[in-house]
Symmetry: C2
């Protein structure tokens, strides 16, 4: 029997999907993992009751987390992904032939297992020989002082609750900054600037303490809270609009949302956010 | 007792608001009208079960329907609004001191009555002497051959069902084009380009048969289906990016979302839509 599965926000609004079948449901050491076959989105990954990604609409989130950073980083040979257990972020990075090595550090082996089995349309690059998979704590990983430097670091975590809470701390952002090559680029999802406006602004303030240049950008993410999503590019001083035209153009034929025009447009700030961020 | 009120899309997804109280519920000659006091959005206008506008988030929709057209129209003295019974569109138009006359043609007197009573924070310009209110059928109105020409025509209707269905017909768009001054500008909401992608593309194709230059643009509309909304500027040939800087700058202090940077960015096309619209 089909049933409704709702994600409720502070008991005030809810967004629901009609589920045809529960494909997977297991409690890992870290969280409740579910994969639901929904009527609209196809298979959807749910962690602790929150919709994470879907077969139908994952490209908005993954293209927008990855491609802007890849388009403006001076070098992209050596990339670190923290989180990203569904494989979509790695897939987007590995589209670039200049990438030599991707290290993906995901805390929950069961998310990877379930995604490989039920979301193969998202993680299409698991077998790429440039990808090294580490099951472990991303916070401890970037804290290692013997660690190499990265050209690009991508943070693909959940909301600031549960196993992902530490991924929004200043200390963690500072570790990421320390692991970046001098002109390296860090990008992360930074929640909804409308429904979660205060959370979004808090994250911006924290990021500004860890990085020299912090610039949010915006786009749709249909599976998430009903409005708009944000990501943020951080670095010592790389211009987030200085696109390497050739590198960006090379991946555009494979894109469904991102292109150079979208890249430039995504950084426009609403009047409300312009006022809030100038304070 | 608070209760959930859900808008369901094709039986596959739903978006719900917790309602503290039903403020108004009446069946007019045209539709079921409800005004619900919701926990998140404050008062919300609902027509035939579809969320229309809310005290909290109406500015995204109204600013984006009105201000881009007002920023690029060569003249804005004489403006026609079709629909817009909540008063938000008229309020945005009347911010401009160059506006001499606004004619608002709303088919349902009860929408105006209920909005005046329960949504006074949206319709703040009802008493402006430049506003002329006509209760009547917008389709018949623009079909009148003795009608004056307008500098700007704004179509603020519902989805292409119920009393608004005729507002998506070629014949109606052709009447609007005929009622525009030579370099006048027409703007309308054109549904979600993601959830209602095929509807959006159909509307674009129809508009292209009626106007010389048709350009969609995009932004968030939190109360609507969970992703992104679109509006479209149409004219004989006015450049939708040729902003009258002074006119746009004058209203920016009153804006919550729109500004000139957002205006330019809103026209960026995703890879998917670029491919679909070039066909």
């Amino acid at each position: 029997m089909p049933f409704w599965y709702d994600e409720t926000w502070e008991g005030k609004t809810r967004y629901g999907c009609l589920v045809r079948e529960t494909l997977y449901s297991e409690k890992s050491e870290f969280q409740q993992i579910e994969i639901l076959d929904t009527a609209h989105y196809g298979p959807v990954l749910v962690l602790d009751g929150i919709f994470m990604t879907s077969a139908r609409e994952e490209h908005f989130y993954h293209e927008m987390l990855v491609q802007p950073a890849m388009a403006v980083a001076p070098r992209v040979a050596n990339v670190l992904i923290i989180g990203g257990g569904d494989g979509g972020t790695a897939r987007e990075v590995l589209r670039h032939p200049e990438v030599e090595r991707v290290t993906l550090v995901e805390i929950d082996a069961k998310v990877i297992e379930a995604s490989k089995r039920f979301l193969p349309m998202i993680g299409t690059a698991w077998d790429d020989p440039r990808l090294e998979l580490i099951v472990g704590d991303g916070i401890a990983y970037v804290g290692r002082e013997d660690l190499q430097l990265f050209d690009v670091i991508l943070l693909d975590g959940c909301d600031p609750v549960g196993p992902s809470a530490g991924l929004f701390d200043l200390a963690f952002y500072q570790s990421c900054a320390a692991r970046l090559a001098g002109d390296g680029v860090f990008a992360t999802q930074t929640e909804s600037p409308i429904l979660l406006r205060e959370v979004f602004l808090d994250i911006q303030r924290t990021l500004r303490q860890a990085f020299g240049r912090v610039t949010p950008y915006f786009g749709p993410a249909p599976l998430y809270a009903s409005d708009q999503w944000s990501w943020t590019i951080c670095s010592a001083g790389v211009d987030p609009l200085a696109i390497h035209e050739e590198r960006a153009a090379r991946v555009e034929p494979a894109m469904k949302y991102y292109n150079r025009e979208i890249h430039r447009a995504a950084f426009a700030l609403s009047q409300d956010l312009k006022r809030a961020l100038d304070d």
